[in-house]
Amino acid sequence: MKSFKQLKGLVFPLDRANVDTDAIIPKQFLKSIKRSGFGPYLFDEWRYLDHGEPDMDCTTRPLNPDFLLNQPRYQSAQILLARDNFGCGSSREHAPWAIEGYGFQVIIAPSFADIFFGNCYKNGLLPIVASSDFIERMLKESLASEAYFLDVDLEKQTVTLPTGESFGFDITPHRKHCLLNGLDEIGLTLQHGDQIRSFEARHKTVQPWLFA
C-alpha cells in the first residue's frame, strides 16, 4: 500500500448527503477482476450524459456540465469534501479504488458509513471526520473560490484552511502507523501467527463443532 504523510491539495466540494457506493461506482464496473482502472468511471451516472459500460473510452464521452467535478476549476482535485453518511450502502471496495484512481487522496465529511471508512485505509486514502461547522464553511468557501486548497498533515492530525486556521482529526494509532508507513497489514498480522494458532486451539475446545 502507498503511504500518506502530508498533502496540500485542491478541494472538490460534493454538496449532498448520503452519497452511496452505487453512485460512486455503478454495478456494471464491478465485473472487472482487476483492482485498478476504475478512476475514469468515478460517479459515472452523474459525471457523463451517456450510459457507461466497462472498458469504454471516457475521453470521448459527453460530460454532464451540471456536475461540478467537470468544471475546469476542479480538475486535478485531490481532496473530496462531502456531507453526512458518505459511502453508505454496498461494501464494494471498488468505491475507494475509483476515488483513489481518480486522484483523490483525502475525503473530508461530517460522517462516513462504517465499511467504506475502513476500506479507505486499505488503499492509502485518508478519510477525515470534521465538525459540521467546518464542513459548512469549507463547502461554502470552496464553492465560491476558483481554487480552494487545504493542507492535511497526518503526522500532526490537522487540516489547515487557507486562512491559516486549522482543526484536528482523530485516527487510531494502528491506522496512522500503517498509513504513514504504507504497511501491508497481512504481513503485519502474520507476525502474530503463533497467537492465532494458540487462539484456534482454545477455540476448538470450546466450539469443536466449528472444526468438524
Binding site: 464491478l30 456531507r83 454496498s90 494509532p173
Partner: protein, 469 residues
C-alpha cells in the same frame, strides 16, 4: 458488574489479541465468498505466494452475475462470464468447504444458501465481501460485510483487524397485524433512526414481535440492519433457531449437536446487560411500508403521502427531498396508493425465501397482473427454495397470474445480470436498496414486502395489503 449482551459474548469469544488503542485481531469462523468481491483478493494471495489459512472455512457461490433464465445459453456477457469463471478457477486452486458454481442444483444467493446448508451457526463470526452479510446475525452470529482487502486478509490470516462497535437494542414489542411483515419492521426502524442511525453500532433486535418471527423473517430484519448503517444485526438464538438448523448438511451431528445446543443457550444477552442506545417500537403501530425516495430512510406507511419539500426548514434536507422527488418522478403530497408501477421484482437476499414466496403467492392466487404492469419477476433465493416452491405449486400460481418464474440469483436487486429496469421505469421491489440507478440506470425503486409487491402487481399501483385478507 453489568451482564453481557449477545454482541459482547460473540466479540469476546473471538478476540485473538488486543492493542492498547482497542484495535483487536478477531478470529473468523466462516468466510462466505462470491464472484464480484473476491477476484482481486485471490490475485493478491497469488502475488504474495500465500495459501488460505483455513480453506474449510470458505463457502462460495456464483450469484451476482448469473442469469435467471435460459441457463442452457450460459452467461452471455463475456466480462460477466470471465468473472464467474475466475471464481471457478480460484476455488479450484485455493480450495473451499463447499462451492456452488453456476447451474449447481443448490446454487443461489450466498445469504440464502449459507443458512440453508447449516454453514451459519450461532456463536460464529461470519464475514463476506458483501454488505448484506448482516443477514446471518439472525442466528445469533456476529456477521458483517467486509471490503476486498479484508477478504484477502481473512483468507491469509483467518482474522480481521477491528474495533468493537457500540451496542444498540432495537426492541419491538406487541403483535404485528395481518399483512405486516419482517420487512415492514425493518423499514419502519430505518424510517425512525435513519440510514446512518446505526453507524458505529451492532444492533440487537429484540422484543416479542421479533421473537415471534420465523427464521426467514429474522433474516429479513437482520439483512436490512446495514441499511440503518449498522454493519451487524443480531437476534438471540432460541428454540426456533435450533429447530431450523437441526439436520442441515453442515450442522453439528450427534454429541456435537447436544454440546452446541447447550453452548448456544448461553449466548442471549443477560437480563442485566446494558446497551449504549435503545430504540423502542410498538408492533401495532407498524403499517405496510413503501419507500418513496432514493434512500431507504425515505419511507412511508401505505396510508401516507409523499413529502412536500416546502415544509422542510433544513436547506440540505430540502435539497435532498427535491432531488429525490425529481429522480423518482413523483409529486409532493400525492398519496402512496396513487403511485403506479411498471415492473415488480420479488426476490433478493432480503425476501426470496420460501416464506416470502408463499406470502406473495397467497396474494396472487387466482388473480392476474394488471395490464399496465410490463413484467413481474419472481426469483427464488436458491435451488432448494425453487424446488420447495414448485413442490407446493407456487410456481403455477405465479405463472397463472402472469408473473415470470425464474432461476435463482441476485437478479434485479442490483441488476448486474440482464434483469434490470430501463430509465424511467418504476418498480415495486422486495430488495434492499432504492438508490439512484440501483436496479438499472434511471430506474425508480420502491422497497416493499413480498405481499405488498404482489398486491401492486395485481392492482397496477400500491394498495394496502391489509384490505385483501
Amino acid at each position: 458488574m453489568a451482564g453481557k449482551t449477545l454482541y459482547d459474548k460473540l466479540w469476546e469469544s473471538h478476540v485473538v489479541s488486543e492493542e492498547s488503542d482497542g484495535t483487536c485481531l478477531i478470529y473468523i469462523d466462516r468466510h462466505l465468498m462470491h464472484e464480484v468481491t473476491s477476484p482481486q483478493a485471490f490475485e493478491g494471495m497469488r502475488l504474495a505466494n500465500r495459501q488460505p489459512w483455513r480453506k474449510d472455512s470458505i463457502v462460495a457461490v456464483a450469484d451476482h452475475n448469473t442469469p435467471t433464465d435460459h441457463w442452457e445459453r450460459g452467461i452471455e456477457e463475456p466480462i460477466a462470464r470471465l468473472q464467474v469463471e475466475t471464481l471457478d478457477a480460484n476455488i479450484k486452486e485455493f480450495g473451499a468447504l463447499v462451492y456452488f458454481p453456476f447451474k449447481h442444483e443448490d446454487q443461489g444467493i450466498i445469504h440464502v444458501i449459507g443458512p440453508e446448508h447449516g454453514t451459519t451457526l450461532p456463536g460464529m463470526t461470519v464475514v463476506c465481501g458483501d454488505s448484506h452479510t448482516s443477514t446471518h446475525g439472525a442466528f445469533g452470529t456476529l456477521a458483517h460485510g467486509i471490503g476486498t482487502s479484508e477478504v484477502e486478509h481473512v483468507l491469509a490470516t483467518q482474522t480481521l483487524i477491528a474495533k468493537k462497535s457500540k451496542r444498540m437494542l432495537v426492541r419491538i414489542e406487541g403483535r404485528l397485524g395481518q399483512g405486516v411483515t419482517a420487512k415492514d419492521i425493518a423499514l419502519a426502524v430505518i424510517g425512525r433512526i435513519g440510514t446512518a442511525g446505526g453507524t458505529g453500532y451492532a444492533i440487537e433486535f429484540g422484543g416479542s414481535a421479533i421473537r415471534s418471527l420465523s427464521m426467514e423473517g429474522r433474516m429479513t430484519v437482520c439483512n436490512l440492519a446495514i441499511e440503518a448503517g449498522a454493519r451487524a444485526g443480531l437476534i438471540a438464538p432460541d428454540e426456533k433457531t435450533t429447530a431450523y438448523l437441526k439436520g442441515r448438511t453442515f450442522s453439528p451431528k450427534g454429541q456435537d449437536w447436544d454440546r452446541a445446543v447447550s453452548y448456544w443457550a448461553t449466548l442471549p444477552s443477560d437480563a442485566d446487560a446494558t446497551f449504549d442506545a435503545v430504540v423502542d417500537l410498538q408492533a401495532e403501530d407498524i403499517t405496510p411500508q413503501v419507500t418513496w425516495g432514493t434512500s431507504p430512510e425515505q419511507v412511508l406507511g401505505i396510508g401516507g403521502r409523499v413529502p412536500n419539500p416546502a415544509t422542510e426548514s433544513d436547506p440540505v434536507k430540502r435539497a435532498g427531498l427535491e432531488r429525490a422527488l425529481h429522480y423518482m418522478g413523483l409529486k409532493a403530497d400525492m398519496p402512496v396508493t396513487d403511485i403506479q408501477v411498471d415492473k415488480v421484482f420479488i426476490g433478493s437476499c432480503t425476501n426470496s425465501r420460501i416464506e416470502d414466496l408463499r406470502a406473495a403467492a397467497g396474494i396472487a392466487k387466482g388473480k392476474q397482473k394488471a395490464a399496465s404492469v410490463n413484467q413481474v419477476l419472481v426469483v427464488p433465493g436458491s435451488g432448494q427454495v425453487k424446488r420447495q416452491a414448485e413442490a407446493e405449486g407456487l410456481d403455477k400460481i405465479f405463472t397463472a397470474a402472469g408473473f415470470e418464474w425464474r432461476e435463482p440469483g441476485c437478479s434485479m436487486c442490483l441488476a448486474m445480470n440482464a434483469d434490470r429496469l430501463v430509465a424511467g421505469e418504476r418498480c415495486a421491489s422486495t430488495s434492499n436498496r432504492n438508490f439512484e440507478g440501483r436496479q438499472g440506470p434511471g430506474g425508480r425503486t420502491h422497497l416493499v414486502s413480498p405481499e405488498m409487491a404482489a398486491a401492486a402487481a395485481i392492482a397496477g399501483h400500491f394498495v394496502d395489503v391489509r384490505n385483501l385478507y
